[in-house]
């Protein structure tokens, strides 16, 4: 299959996409000289700053969540590849303040390595940084082996609640505690139906048979755990919900947040249909879907499929989820 994307020289791709992103959202974000994405209007220095890092090609993640009530700095890498330690330590120095910095890291090898190296440097330099790792993909490892679980769209929930707490003036320890509570109570499962082309090479990043779907495929096309023929929205929702419910030990009467994250070419129409299926199934199980949303939050180019995210909510997390935010790609 020939790649059909509107691009220029692939080696300029990340710079061009970031420039365009900053133009489109100039009221909320701007680019630094070294292509860090920062808020157009910086947060007050007496509040905790939030920093994250991640590869590009997943728009609107992660830079789309820079703004009031969310991130302070996003450190973008190359396509599907984490930024290196030099850019991250620059961001941490820029964000550093007495109130402290919360660094949110998605569990992927490159992101973790860069973060660990930057954290060691930050410590040597006396920067006030605490790190939280998101790893909620239930298809890559059991709950008691979090290091094997990848970070998927759940980072968004962590950014949302910790960002809201920071905006309200919570301490670094409190922001970390909120982020950690969200992280421990969330789970994501992905399903893929079609592959995507790597924008720099034009090659498909995974192989998915024409009529099948793969439950558990990662956001770089990493193989999943279960391949079956394509099922209906109801059937797919049932399978995925059940796996998430088991993983999180969700019980009758629990309050949950559910998020359907379209990863590229699965339409918003389908996402709504799936969300509706989820609501029916959860109702029948007497599980309270107290918050929900659907949309493209973290994509994989034109890959077809979605990530289903579930989190057990308490009243504090729900309040922080509802708190106002003003960033390019999310509104509550």
């Amino acid at each position: 299959m020939t790649m059909k994307k509107f691009l220029n020289d692939p080696s300029d791709l990340v710079g061009e996409l970031l420039s365009g992103f900053a133009l489109a959202h100039a009221d909320k974000v701007k680019l630094t000289e070294n292509n860090l994405v920062v808020r157009a209007e910086p947060k007050a220095k007496n509040k905790v700053a939030l920093v994250t890092l991640g590869g590009s090609g997943h728009e609107p993640a992660l830079s789309g969540y820079v703004g009031q009530g969310m991130l302070d700095i996003s450190v973008p890498g190359e396509i599907f590849a984490a930024p290196g330690p030099p850019k991250l330590i620059e961001a941490l120095r820029m964000a550093n303040r007495p109130a402290g910095v919360l660094l949110i890291v998605l569990n992927h090898a490159g992101d973790v390595m860069s973060a660990n190296m930057a954290m060691e440097m930050a410590e040597q330099e006396g920067l006030n940084v605490r790190q939280i790792l998101t790893h909620e993909d239930i298809s890559t490892g059991p709950r008691d082996k979090p290091e094997e679980r990848r970070g998927l769209v759940g980072c968004l929930a962590v950014i949302k609640v910790a960002g809201a707490a920071a905006e309200q003036g919570a301490s670094l320890d409190k922001c970390w505690e909120i982020a950690d509570r969200m992280e421990r109570n969330m789970a994501t499962l992905a399903v893929a139906v079609t592959s995507a082309a790597h924008p720099c090479t034009g090659e498909a990043i995974s192989e998915i048979p024409e009529t099948d779907m793969i439950i558990g495929m990662g956001q770089h096309g990493e193989s999943g755990s279960a391949q079956t023929e394509l099922k209906t929205a109801d059937e797919t929702a049932e399978i995925m919900l059940n796996m998430l419910i088991v993983d999180l030990s969700v019980k009758k009467g629990d309050d949950i947040l559910l998020m359907i994250n379209g990863v590229g070419s699965t339409t918003l129409m389908e996402q709504y249909v799936v969300l509706n299926s989820c609501k029916k199934i959860l109702d029948s199980k007497k599980i309270n879907m107290v918050r929900c949303t659907a949309g493209e939050f973290l994509t994989v180019q034109e890959m077809g499929g979605f990530q289903m995210f579930m989190a057990r909510m308490d009243s504090e997390l729900a309040e922080l989820w509802d708190a106002p935010c003003k960033c390019p790609c999310m509104a509550t």
Partner: protein, 203 residues
């Protein structure tokens, strides 16, 4: 010595990307190319003749390629070599071996991978071990690096029949069977480049 590696990666980057497509997302060659271009630029702009300082600058430049795990891993190799290098502008054989061992130590801090996990370590560990042994045997630097390049090549070849156990490739399972690990091949190209570079500039 360093620039020999740049040339070999440039010549082979398409093959590296192709190898990566069997277990990764097919961009290892372009990532290595970016890292090596950064390396070349940092060597060109370095004002110091001191090996330690030059390698430190190279390490930072390689990590600045923003290439996922590749930047920190290869950057750590050069960072460790910088830490292990003496203050001078030239190297003897024993110092060369210590320098490479320090490079390997620094990479080991970043990854749990051992020989057999189908990673860069399958080439890097035997290459560095061979450097020590050849240095102890009293060979000269080009000969030492030739032994290292051979060991790295054999290590990279051995990854063909392995299944990945770590990193992103782990989740690709069987797909990469029959193909070498692209990171290990990169390591072998870098050592071969060191050898060629050492022959050209005499060390």
């Amino acid at each position: 010595m360093l620039l020999g590696a740049v040339e070999l990666i440039r010549e082979n980057h398409r093959k590296l990307s192709e190898l990566d497509s069997f277990g990764g997302d097919g961009d290892h060659g372009t990532t290595m190319l970016r890292a090596m271009e950064n390396l070349k630029n940092s060597v060109a702009s370095s004002e110091s003749g001191q090996i330690k300082k030059l390698l430190g600058e190279v390490a930072w430049a390689v990590m600045g390629a923003d290439g996922g795990a590749t930047g920190p891993l290869f950057g750590s190799f050069f960072m460790g070599m910088s830490n292990g290098a003496g203050q001078g502008e030239t190297l003897d054989c024993a110092a060369l071996a210590s320098m490479f061992e320090a490079g390997l130590d620094c990479v080991s801090k970043r990854t749990k991978a051992q020989v057999g996990d189908k990673t860069i370590m399958d080439a890097m560990i035997p290459a560095v071990n061979e450097i020590r042994q050849a240095a102890d045997e009293g060979l000269d630097i080009p000969a030492i690096l030739e032994r290292a390049a051979d060991a790295a090549r054999q290590g990279a070849d051995s990854t063909k029949n392995l299944q990945p156990r770590l990193g992103r490739a782990k989740n690709a399972g069987q797909q990469s069977l029959g193909h070498e690990d692209p990171g290990a091949v990169s390591v072998s190209l870098i050592f071969k480049g060191f050898m060629k570079g050492a022959l050209n500039d005499g060390g």
